[in-house]
Symmetry: C2
Subunit: 339 residues, 2 copies
């Protein structure tokens, strides 16, 4: 018997999805990108993505309010649709929970789901409800559409493309560390109030991430189509590996270009970890990582909320980060966190 740890998540997915039958030429993208892409009306496509969120693995109800959890569960899924340069319009929601949950708790969760739907113009299309002996389980599938020509896959990056990210990185992980610390303090002494005053930004990054619909509009307005795009859910390092793996290229990025909020830097110092490590390996920021043709530099350079962090290189698998003029190190993907 082979332990899962010998494979890791992505090799496992590759392994188990091999040999599945292929029937329809209208299916443009199957397993392996942020979402599946299926031809719809002439010139347009449907885009689907699905995610599982499990109590104890993806969230801790000790400090995640149910309303925030519902909101975040939607945002996480829509993020995959936006990462295809597509516009989400609906979700289906499967939830399972213990019968010890009162109706009011489920209402709170759905208040959060509803708030995210209202915020992003998303309809609740359907779902499934079940009891669980195993904690709260949330399964969401998101549905979107796009013009077929607008879809951005992970595999289109080419040498000399500029590597860009939206927003700032590492904040969600900083928020996670702060919340975990406060939870431990609380468990040790329940009379102490949580100390979150100076951490409002990073805590909100962890508890209430937002999507980037404005980015898609900006691309349209500026006449830019990214050569590749992926959302940053498992940390920049992992996503760079996915993007370069599928595009068969390498990348060089610059540590001093990584956008990091000062609160994230403060938390990194408190925990005696380099802020660059937060930005590279901290997950759950739900920012976008994309590459654009070097010829689009003039268009992108003033774009609000976008930072150019490096460029694509020709050698497949050569992923490097420039720490200082004399220190260049390989970017290591953390790999499989969940198993």
């Amino acid at each position: 018997m082979t332990p899962i740890s010998q494979y890791g998540e992505f090799k496992l997915i590759e392994h188990i999805t091999k040999g599945f039958p292929v029937f329809y030429e209208g299916v443009l993208k199957r397993v392996g990108d942020d979402a599946a892409v299926v031809r719809a009306e002439k010139g347009s496509v449907s885009v689907f993505s699905t995610d599982l969120l499990l109590e104890g693995i993806h969230f801790d109800l000790a400090y995640v309010p149910l309303k925030h959890l519902g909101y975040k569960a939607v945002v996480v899924n829509l993020s995959d649709i936006f990462a295809m340069n597509a516009v989400p319009y609906g979700i289906t929601v499967g939830i399972a929970f213990s019968n010890r949950f009162p109706v009011e708790a489920i209402e709170e969760l759905y208040d959060g789901i509803r708030a995210a739907c209202s915020r992003y113009g998303i309809e609740l299309l359907g779902g499934d409800t079940s009891s669980s002996r195993q904690g709260l389980i949330i399964s969401i599938t998101a549905y979107g559409t796009a013009e077929a020509d607008d879809i951005t896959y992970r595999n289109g990056a080419k040498p000399n493309d500029l590597v860009c990210v939206t927003g700032d990185l590492g904040g969600a992980y900083a928020g996670f560390l702060v919340l975990e610390r406060e939870k431990k303090t609380f468990l040790a002494n329940p009379d102490l109030q949580p100390e979150l005053l100076h951490y409002d930004y990073v805590v909100s990054r962890q508890l209430k991430p937002e999507n980037k619909p404005a980015l898609l509009q900006a691309f349209k307005n500026l006449g830019i189509k990214p050569t590749a795009m992926i959302d940053i859910s498992d940390g920049l390092a992992n996503e760079l590996h996915h993007l370069c793996g599928q595009s068969k290229c390498g990348v060089t990025i610059y540590a001093d270009k990584l956008p990091i909020d000062y609160q994230t830097v403060n938390v990194a110092e408190e925990f005696d970890i380099s802020p660059t490590t937060f930005a590279l390996n901290g997950g759950e920021d739900y920012e976008m990582l994309f590459t654009i043709d070097i010829g689009d530099f003039q268009k992108i350079k003033g774009m609000e909320g976008v930072t150019i962090i490096g460029h694509v290189t020709p050698e497949e698998g050569a992923l490097n980060i420039v720490i200082s003029p004399t220190q260049i190190t390989p970017i290591i993907a953390q790999g499989f966190r969940h198993f």
Copy 2:
């Protein structure tokens, strides 16, 4: 705090999905049918349905082989698409499992998923994989298409329509009881071999249900469109209540018309339960329940594998079963089994 049990599953779903925003007129059906329906190309629609399957709630790995489980998980989801009179073409699969699962176990599960895909012309479009501290979790979303005019909802039944079912009923529940009994015998004395020889049909109904794609083709060939249709996942009684509730009608069915296999009858006798109860309240048969206009009687009466079990009545909520000429009783929905 209000306990979930005070609501029941369907009232709870109604309650929590109230007040969700509605944005798009292309969304033809949201929560409340077997699947969501969204306008696609001119004249055609996309159909989506999602299901959660949890170890300990929906299946017991003590006697369900992983390959069968994978197969059944797909069939259960496709069933909702077929129940819209639509043709499924793809699925996305989210699974979560303990890291104590060896790779070989996951391979077996996916062998079953792949076999169902091959059997029904379904593509694996994507998915999500996670570890679980909480047993095996399978979340599948199924995708289908149909001509908009072909879609059958639950709400179109009208007085005098004929009520029909496919196949036979109660077998999956009979198989479940036999497997549970053998599990207990095995736990009491692991040297005893399971006694399944005379139960092959009902056990296969439980472990390996099949879909009914031929039904849709037959409808097309005969020029029939059901006035309402729903798949029988939670037992005939529950589904009749759903169908009548949405169609605002009643129904009278005849106990002696219910199609029940002789093995199901034998098991019912062994357990000292009426076979009619098996047929009414046993779940997981994944047969189809549908209503057709009385004018289509000539077309339907010789249709293979279809049984007319009664007719639609005008009084909303009046659901009755005729046991004998002198004994007519109301059909009671079991309601919410999972909480």
